[in-house]
Homo-oligomer: 372 residues x 2
């Protein structure tokens, strides 16, 4: 087993041996250099959320390819290398974005500014992120579920808290909102700044069908909705000190999860009072009257029951026309809501900001809350 | 922003569009086919823990390279593709192993057997995995820490529990023992089978210096040890219902973490009573008398205080001679311990089995425990 021996020796010696190729290397001027050792390659190309289009590498000495871009604004970005036509990650960067399908695999570039960002860990009280394995009766399987508890949750055993149900997008999973979205750190920081109330966040796995498998239109949301309402919400109310009523439940999602949050939320105002969709995957506008039949049947009731309907989308996002059409649809049916057009594309850069923006709007007028 | 639009449309349409290339594809006979679309490549090679050595792909039609291996025994394996000399992952497989350095990045192949394995989620009560962000005074930074609480922890607010401190290896991080090691599922299953007692598991980040940076010999373990003893243990005893005495603390690790667990544990039997090292990174045998000076100075006390000293290593592992030498060193100093030689190399396949094997040995004779 020469390979096993070699692997073991490599592991033993890693602290001594620096990697041959450093990538990405962030300069003091925030110019960023990417490198890859690929002596046999004929073409290496960089794509990334910090670029307007693909950028070719140049072959330098010893088979190392290199490209420098920037200065790049402080942010967290995804990027990929394409080596002779094969889209892959930066082999020298341990920070890899993963999800539930391969299309989401990217390397991650984090450019720091002079001060911590709103999504950085700061010297404030921190909440916890908990992973549960729960038995879904609806889907007849064991599934994972992520829960954020705010700072002080364990230390205040008498306090009860509102709950935000927060959904990821297509190709992602139940870890996305904290691993990529930094939801826990954004909320820790907002709470420490006095900008928002403390609440629990529940991040379920958004697929009720296999992420890459075939499914009928609407099947995924229907199955996910059943799991959410019949399994997840009772599981959470049974295990956490929630305030288990509609006034203290919000439902928000991004992309595919935005469509889920809006369609489930606006059809179940008996369960939820705050509803939000970020860059939502909403389907054809011609289907809105059917999907939102329950809401438009009694707009006055929606306006009475919904404390917040928040729809946001970046105007560089391919999904922007859908969000705009949906806002117009709600307006035509006299359903009050906030429609927020921002800059930005279909990226976590936008969604982290949206979470920061809506956090202060959640549960601010809720009655019966015994939170601080 | 054509790229943003294209990305958004891709995300919207993913449930409809199957990936062009399926990899890995596991046949009913457990033959596994790997594929990659690489029309421009001249050489594609597969390496993996299920192979004795590298295996070349064959170029088939439409630029797709393919190789079939097996049958492969049910297990969880790491593998990589090397395309024209660049070591990378399988671009069609969303299951990616990551860590704290790039050398650990691999794709993951999970071959299932006819029945669930000891590390699979089964229909048993499940514990939780919690991620904390804690302020380390020793290291003057905010660090992450993973904690497993056994099933029933939240439901039995009067019960207190022993604690296993469990360390990862080089290149890994504080998520490795549950993401790759399946520690939570192994312990859920052992507990459900009546094979072990319930205990909390604390999985800290094992680096006190940057994982890829330069450091003096011993510096990493010294800094990690200070963080463990002065920050982590008090943090855990302050937040969890632990039994906060040496009888109810175990310290175990693998590879680099095995060396940490043995050196810290055997020098701090005032804090820990059960000590274990899996495939441990122990350094030079000539250094043992210095590193373990405190233990060998009073072997009788060690034999009185240590409820378990467990050293295991696979005989195909490059680290095997170190573990064997260390066992001989303890024997020469008349320190009672278990030395377990098994098959296997330096892999998670071995470490998952070791955790299953030692779980029943932990806290079985502990006094003063009010656990079941």
């Amino acid at each position: 087993m020469r390979t096993a021996l070699a692997a073991a020796l490599l592991i033993m010696s890693t602290q001594e041996s620096a990697p041959k190729v450093v990538s990405p290397e962030i300069g003091p001027d925030r110019q960023v250099t990417f490198r890859v050792l690929a002596p046999q390659a004929r073409e290496v190309v960089l794509t990334g959320e910090f670029l307007k289009g693909p950028k070719p590498f140049t072959k330098t000495e010893n088979g190392v390819w290199s490209v420098t871009v920037g200065p790049i604004d402080p942010e967290i970005y995804n990027y990929n290398f394409t080596i002779d036509g094969v889209r892959t990650i930066d082999p020298a960067n341990p920070d890899v974005k993963t999800g539930s399908t391969p299309s989401t695999i990217s390397s991650v570039l984090e450019v720091r500014g002079d001060r911590p960002a709103f999504y950085d860990p700061q010297a404030v009280p921190h909440g916890e992120v908990r992973t549960h394995w729960y038995a879904s009766k609806s889907l007849q399987t064991t599934r994972r579920l992520t829960v954020y508890t705010p700072p002080g949750y364990d230390g205040n055993p008498q306090a009860r808290f509102p709950v935000l149900y927060l959904f990821h997008g297509a190709n992602a999973d139940e870890t996305a909102w904290y691993r990529l979205g930094r939801a826990n750190l954004i909320l820790d920081n907002a709470l420490a700044a006095g900008a928002s109330k403390p609440f629990i966040v529940v991040m379920p796995f958004g697929y009720g069908v296999p992420p890459n498998g075939p499914s009928r239109p609407g099947e995924n949301t229907a199955r996910f909705s059943q799991d959410l309402i019949e399994d997840v919400v009772p599981y959470i109310d049974g295990r956490y000190r929630t305030i288990a009523d509609r006034e203290h439940r919000a439902i928000v999602g991004l992309s595919m999860g935005g469509g889920q949050a809006l369609s489930i939320g606006l059809s179940h105002l008996d369960l939820f009072s705050h509803v939000g969709g970020f860059s939502s995957g909403l389907g054809q506008a011609s289907e809105f009257p059917k999907t939102y039949a329950r809401a438009i049947a009694d707009a006055a009731k929606v306006n009475r029951d919904a404390r917040l309907i928040w729809i946001g989308c970046g105007n560089e996002d391919g999904a922007f026309p859908q969000s705009k059409s949906f806002s117009e649809f709600l307006t035509a049916h006299e359903i009050r809501h906030t429609f927020k057009e921002t800059g930005g594309a279909h990226t976590w850069m936008v969604w982290r900001r949206y979470l920061k923006e809506i956090a202060p709007l959640l549960f601010k007028d809720a009655k019966g809350s015994d939170v601080q």
